[in-house]
Subunit: 242 residues, 2 copies
């Protein structure tokens, strides 16, 4: 049945090409191509209109997040499916968080109190490897606790600055992706926070919210410049500060 | 000079009232009142248009917040100015936070990990006294630490529920005012967080953000219902649960 249909279709196309001159055929093909391009553009326009009517991105993620395989987020064009025992093809709050972080193309500004989560560390190192400018501001006490990933980031040349005072905590937990996407909430970057605690993370591209956080990051970045520290203090300059 | 002007103004008004009949005077006064009401309504309309064009409320507060007097937020119609030694008439991140909390008229749903700040406790107790329905979800371990205000809230009959598991932290720090204003961020309700730490709080009435937090609160509220606890567990039912 399918073969017969395909054959008749093939025949009718052949008939058409026989009946049409080369010029006419080119005209039909050209018009078809123009119609296709216009159609795609129209769909694109409709999608943009739809997105604009909903306003900038606003997404809320709640934790704890169940453990699933997130390998596909790190290795984009892997030919063989991951063989790990975790569930595959499942979207969770954590996979959404990772996806938003890994969407950085130019810069990632990270302001986080406690950072010991291995997969989040892997994501930051991958971004750095891809040429994304990563800047980290963290807490003085928590950056040196067992399991902290801050040392691993510094070793690869990622710029890290920390709160100067040991009497004060740098308790923020926010990230800015390419200066236009804000990720903020109660979630520290630890395994307990992701897998056990009741936590929230908000992701938004609302300029009225992104702007103040970007300014706060810049303020903290400049206030904790190692150039203003006395030698012998805890801060170690291991990167080319930008 | 001022006296002379006031006198001439007084004279001309007196002259006018002499020249006009009582009916005419009433007409002028009536028209003036109508014009005043219409003017105020028009300004209100313009303000609403301006606010609507900017979309729902979005405000970001950063901490630490300097210590200032916030007495005027608690006592609305006080005749004598506060005599405390703190700076007066200064708006800070903390006074904005308090103002947003005290704007509750119907309900306050609070989901907070650590709560020991005396002035925030005073605000919650005041709302409860005013008849605002207050519900609190908190962390099991942190609600019993020294200085915690959870006991003080419970004593007055405010409904408090806590995370069931001691292995898991209820780490949220958000509040929902009248089910339409969300206050969320990194800030725990402690004096150190408010006066020392680097913290952030976002206040928004954006329905796409408020909605998920309201659902999360309801989910936690129901999951931690004392009716589902075995007797002898830590949870004590001290209020009429709504």
């Amino acid at each position: 049945m399918h073969v017969a249909r395909a054959f008749s279709c093939h025949l009718s196309l052949a008939d058409m090409s026989q009946q049409m001159s080369f010029k006419e055929l080119m005209k039909v093909l050209g018009l078809g191509a123009v119609a296709l391009v216009l159609g795609v553009e129209w769909i694109n326009w409709l999608m943009r209109r739809l997105r604009d009517s909903r306003g900038p991105l606003k997404e809320v993620l709640f934790f704890p997040s169940p453990q699933v395989c997130v390998e596909h987020l790190f290795i984009r064009h892997k030919h063989f499916p991951c063989a790990c025992p975790l569930p595959h093809g499942v979207e969770t709050s954590f996979s959404r968080l990772l996806m938003h972080l890994l969407s950085a193309r130019m810069s990632l500004d990270l302001c986080v109190f406690s950072f010991s989560h291995m997969e989040l560390s892997r994501a930051i190192l991958l971004l750095h490897k891809r040429g994304v400018v990563v800047r980290v501001v963290t807490d003085r006490d928590y950056m040196t606790i067992t399991g902290s990933q801050i040392g691993a980031l510094r070793k690869t040349g990622i710029c890290v600055r920390h709160e100067m005072s040991s009497a004060v905590h740098m308790h923020h937990k926010f990230a800015l992706v390419d200066g236009k996407k804000l990720i903020t909430g109660s979630l520290n970057w630890t395994l307990t926070a992701v897998q056990s605690n009741k936590e929230n993370v908000m992701v938004t591209e609302e300029p009225e919210l992104v702007g103040p956080y970007q300014q706060e990051f810049q303020k903290l970045w400049e206030a904790n410049d190692p150039a203003n520290h006395k030698p012998g203090q805890l801060n170690i300059k291991t990167c080319k500060d930008r």
